[in-house]
């Protein structure tokens, strides 16, 4: 009855969101009196994977076949299902992401496992297994019972307060049978901005809307984000107008973020925008209109002009370092 965590890698390192999933998995294992194994797929190193021990894992299975260097949804799902069987895992834990969604879904279908996504808290074992999940794009929660023998849980960022320990995990080679049919989808090109803080993973986010007037003014947003070490985001009209790339668009129809701090600059706070950011821990709103609806959803507010306030905040952060 062990716990298996699927860890995503980024440049060979376990992603931060996956470290959170490992910690979550270790808490589940603790409650069930069992242990956590991590599955990592793709290029990495023993040292990079042993880090999982700090988050409570005892063992990492590493599938390092070169064919797996490019993430393939089907192949990764097959490898994960094989690892579930090899470890007789009852729980499969992973962090919600576009790869995680696809892999968790296919694994659930392979194993006939209950699947629940957007889980925001540790499971309750008092009667069966129930979890709390976010629904209606953060506007409500549901308590859901998982009734199948095997259970797939995809967690949302900040589902658990991670406490780092000093353990180290043993890393074992995992060589699953690979099936040609699992490589039917061909990736023909990748366009990825490098060196930026990843938005879904970010603890701090600086976001801006139509109040910035045009793409040429984004310098003040980027300066503030850089000073904080934050990711940048934007409202839907901003990406629709091509002022910013589509993958920065947050909201009901964009990326859902739950950082510790979300700073909204020149964004009115339409309900569809709030839907994507309402699970942020602290929200700061900077808007020149005191009636902007966003202030109602904010923890801190500044009624002011972004062209004046943002550069001053950037300076204040630099001065405080």
């Amino acid at each position: 009855m062990s716990v298996l965590v699927f860890a995503e890698l980024d440049n060979g390192l376990i992603k931060k969101s996956s470290l959170e999933a490992i910690y979550y998995g270790s808490e589940v294992a603790k409650a069930k009196g069992s242990s956590v194994t991590v599955l990592a797929i793709g290029e990495s190193s023993n040292e990079a994977l042993a880090i999982a021990g700090k988050y409570g894992a005892t063992k990492v299975l590493w599938a390092s076949d070169a064919r797996l260097n490019i993430a393939s949804i089907q192949a990764y799902s097959s490898v994960l299902a094989e690892a579930v069987n090899a470890t007789s895992a009852e729980f499969v834990i992973l962090s919600k992401s576009s790869l995680g969604d696809a892999v968790s879904a296919r694994v659930s279908a392979k194993l006939k496992a209950s699947i629940v996504s957007n889980v925001v808290d540790l499971p309750d074992f008092s009667s069966g297994v129930t979890v709390k999940r976010s629904i209606y794009t953060g506007k409500a929660f549901a308590t859901v019972a998982l009734t199948s023998d095997k259970k797939v849980i995809a967690i949302k960022k900040n589902a658990v307060n991670v406490v780092e320990g000093d353990g180290s995990a043993s890393v074992e080679n995992f060589a699953p049978a690979l099936n040609d049919a699992d490589f039917a989808v061909k990736v023909t090109g990748t366009h990825k901005a490098s060196g930026q803080v990843s938005l879904p993973e970010a603890d701090l986010v600086v976001s801006a809307g139509r109040g910035l007037k045009g793409p040429e003014n984004w310098g003040i947003v980027e300066d503030l984000a850089n000073a904080l070490g934050a990711a940048t985001a934007c409202s839907k009209p901003v990406s629709d107008l091509d002022w910013r790339p589509h993958h920065e668009h947050v909201g009901q129809t964009g990326i859902k973020v739950s950082p510790n701090l979300y700073i909204a600059c020149g964004i009115s706070g339409a309900i569809q925008h709030l839907a994507g950011v309402n699970s942020s821990k602290v929200i700061v709103v900077i808007n020149k209109d005191p009636e902007a609806p966003f202030f109602k959803a904010a923890d801190y507010g500044i009624i002011g002009d972004v062209f004046d306030v943002l550069p001053r905040l950037t300076k204040a952060i630099q001065a405080s370092k």
């Binding site: 949804i73 576009s98 990843s198 904080l228 569809q272 839907a275």
Partner: protein, 244 residues
């Protein structure tokens, strides 16, 4: 080309969410229902592909009779016929089982869905259906062209995009800018009334049970900082909110 488009009947994006019966049921009173915005993109692209390549577009919903208004709207937008699986769609796996069951009876070249439902937001039904049918699934797809039996797509990934190619059949979760949302015209609305809408009964049962709902704790009052003292914000974020 035969295309199946799976659509959800969901509360409008501005709907006020509340619950009744001791927080065990969604309160439908006064709620306007729409076709999921991502499902709308899937449908619009399906209709465009039909215009380019010929074929048929079938709309599928797993839901109760109240979904039919939204299904008719999809027919008005350009789908040829519709299937409704008559059941309350209470679980992602259960919904996927219904879709896979229907799809296995016909040879669809494409099964298009939204990237995620806007009520339960799981983003998993496409992957579940792909695996149940033993075909690839991809999401979120922002661009889709069909060339012979091959789909050329652009998919959003964290921090960017990737170009992918795969042979049909495929299950895809769609998002903007894959197509422009279409608005039904008068002729479409008239013809939708007589297009076939088949109602079938569900198979199998779900693997989760939703027991209770809750609303988030109300937000405390906002603390305003005068613009002249904007710099104070940094101190508050550090020492009061402790997020820096």
């Amino acid at each position: 080309m035969k295309i199946l488009v799976c659509i959800t009947n969901v509360p409008d994006t501005t709907a006020k969410i509340s619950f009744i019966d001791g927080d065990t049921k969604f309160n439908k009173t006064g709620v306007q229902y729409i076709c999921g915005p991502y499902d709308d993109y899937a449908l619009s692209r399906a209709v465009e592909l039909k215009e380019q390549h010929g074929g048929t577009v079938t709309v599928l919903n797993v839901g109760e009779a109240e979904s039919e208004q939204v299904i008719r709207k999809c027919l008005a937008i350009g789908a040829d016929d519709a299937i409704r699986v008559n059941t309350e769609p209470t679980d992602s796996y259960f919904v996927a089982e219904q879709i896979a069951h229907i799809a296995s009876q016909e040879n669809y070249d494409l099964i298009l869905m939204g990237r995620e439902s806007i009520d339960f937001n799981s983003g998993v039904v496409h992957g579940l259906v792909g695996e149940m049918l033993g075909i690839p699934s991809l999401s979120p797809v922002m661009k889709l062209e069909i060339d012979g039996g091959v789909a050329k797509m652009t998919r959003e990934i964290e921090g960017g995009k990737e170009d992918v190619e795969a042979s049909l059949p495929l299950v895809l979760g769609c998002q903007e800018p894959i197509a422009e949302w279409k608005i039904p015209n008068m002729r479409g609305i008239m013809s939708a009334r007589t297009k076939p809408l088949k109602v079938v009964e569900p198979v199998g049962s779900g693997l989760t049970i939703t027991e209770k709902y809750a609303l988030p704790a109300p937000k405390g009052a906002v603390k305003m900082i005068p613009a002249e003292e904007a710099e104070k914000l940094i101190d508050l974020l550090k020492n009061e909110a402790k997020v820096l």
